[in-house]
């Protein structure tokens, strides 16, 4: 693992008495991708929302290249891209307007070239002028993907990006994910799908009831019986 770029230690989040994330800690090197597996309700989405800066941890610290995360800190949001499994786009704005709106929020100056280019990258250039609510689920996810990578974040968070995608959309997504593996960006991917999860991962984790019950380098993981160890860890954690 080359020099750690992202450090997370003791991340905890309570919702009243419920502890959704319990003392999660890990570090990621430059250009590394961590895949987090886990059953529903394990707190994976909560963990991602904490890493994105959208949700404050009750305890624990996250830092990216030495910049410690403070809630509402614009510097953090400039470096982080977050793709949720819901597509979160403005239905009444066209695709072009959606991206230009978020681009202006990020203070990007070259929108007139960047937006068409990004729409092209996710294969939606032809629909640029139509309202976003007319898009299918797969297209919405691709627009949301283009939006979360619009400002070229160095730290990318993907929450179940493959769910509900048709074959074509999934292939576009895989294509974009491989471009993310350019050695410069750090990525955390949350998914149920073992094969898709392992395919690009440098490190693998299993989260159950808020805690990491497994955290290994991809090399140490044998793909064949990973399924068994995964299920075993889930039962152990109860």
């Amino acid at each position: 693992m080359n020099n750690p770029v992202l450090r997370a230690s003791g991340l905890t989040r309570d919702f009243g008495p419920l502890r959704a994330v319990d003392g999660v800690g890990f570090s990621l090197g430059e250009g590394e991708l961590l895949t987090v597996f886990g059953p529903n309700g394990a707190g994976k989405t909560t963990l991602l929302r904490i890493l994105s800066g959208g949700l404050q941890p009750t305890e624990g610290v996250v830092s990216l290249r030495g910049l410690e995360q403070k809630s509402g800190d614009p510097e953090w949001y400039r470096r982080v891209g977050f793709l949720s499994h819901q597509s979160f786009i403005y239905g009444h704005l066209t695709l072009d307007e959606n991206l230009r709106f978020f681009g202006r929020l990020f203070g990007l100056k070259d929108l007139s070239t960047r937006v068409p280019d990004r729409l092209e990258q996710v294969g939606l250039a032809s629909r640029a002028g139509s309202p976003a609510r007319t898009l299918s689920r797969g297209m919405r996810q691709r627009l949301a993907l283009a939006r979360s990578l619009l400002h070229d974040p160095e730290f990318v968070l993907l929450d179940e990006p493959y769910t509900g995608l048709d074959a074509h959309a999934a292939s576009v997504l895989r294509e974009v994910l491989t471009t993310l593996k350019d050695g410069r960006r750090t990525v955390v991917l949350v998914t149920h799908n073992i094969s898709q999860g392992l395919e690009l991962a440098d490190r693998v984790a299993v989260q159950v009831r808020g805690r990491f019950v497994l955290l290994q380098d991809r090399a140490e993981v044998e793909v064949e019986n990973f399924e068994r160890t995964y299920r075993q860890r889930v039962e152990e954690a109860g």
Partner: protein, 225 residues
């Protein structure tokens, strides 16, 4: 410079979505005209001269119509869910608040103008001899109202009671706007000199300033998770 562009982007987005859906402006517009009609039947002109109580009716109509529109501000955002992504962008929270306030202010000013026209029509009101002073009074009052309303609309949208909580939270705080606004409007409509309403305008401006400053400062605690 980024700050202004970010606020501008927000105002642009809100107004474009509003123009396309026309949901809120239609609802508020229809509401205010209908309230005007109801008042015309509810008040017996032989007993009460509408001119005397018009300003009170106007302000009540604007506030109730405003409640209708403001309550929806963050409701629409929650539906799309896209607001979460706006929160993940590097926009400072007070810019986010000001963007919303300006968009709501423009929307409510349009509706208030409509209310004045409707009441002028139904109650045969002039706009007094000092339309400029009247505009100052109304605009400052609406600005204070929108600033408080936007902050607590964001809050009530995040509670289980939703929009029903909004009037309970906001009405006690609006007393100064109602008192200074309605009194100033009635004296202007009766053609009294502008000097009569100087104090009111200053107080309305003070209220708007306090509402904007406190809203901008506290908005992050309302939207933060």
């Amino acid at each position: 410079m980024d700050y202004l562009r970010q606020v501008g982007a927000l105002v642009w987005k809100d107004l474009v979505v509003e123009l396309r859906t026309r949901e809120r402006v239609a609802a508020m517009g229809a509401f205010t005209v209908l309230v005007g009609i109801l008042f015309s039947f509810a008040i017996d002109p032989s007993v009460v001269q509408p001119q005397d109580i018009a300003s009170g009716l106007i302000w009540m109509t604007v506030i109730f119509g405003g409640m209708l529109g403001l309550g929806r501000t963050f409701h629409l955002e929650e539906d799309d869910g896209a607001f979460q992504c706006v929160l993940l962008s590097p926009i400072p929270r007070d810019a986010l608040f000001l963007g919303k306030v300006i968009a709501n202010f423009i929307l409510l000013t349009v509706v208030t103008a409509l209310v004045f026209v409707v009441f002028a029509l139904f109650f045969d009101l002039g706009f007094g001899d000092h339309p400029l002073a009247l505009a100052a009074v109304v605009l400052l009052g609406v600005l204070g109202f929108v600033a408080v309303g936007t902050l607590f609309s964001a809050m009530s949208a995040r509670t289980t009671m939703g929009e029903t909580l909004l009037p309970i939270l906001v009405f006690p705080l609006l007393i100064p706007v109602v008192i200074y606004g309605a009194t100033a409007t009635s004296s202007l409509l009766q053609g009294l000199p502008v000097s009569e309403v100087d104090g009111n305008i200053r107080m309305l401006a003070a209220f708007a300033l306090v509402a904007l400053a406190s809203g901008a400062g506290l908005f992050r605690f309302v939207v933060e998770e």
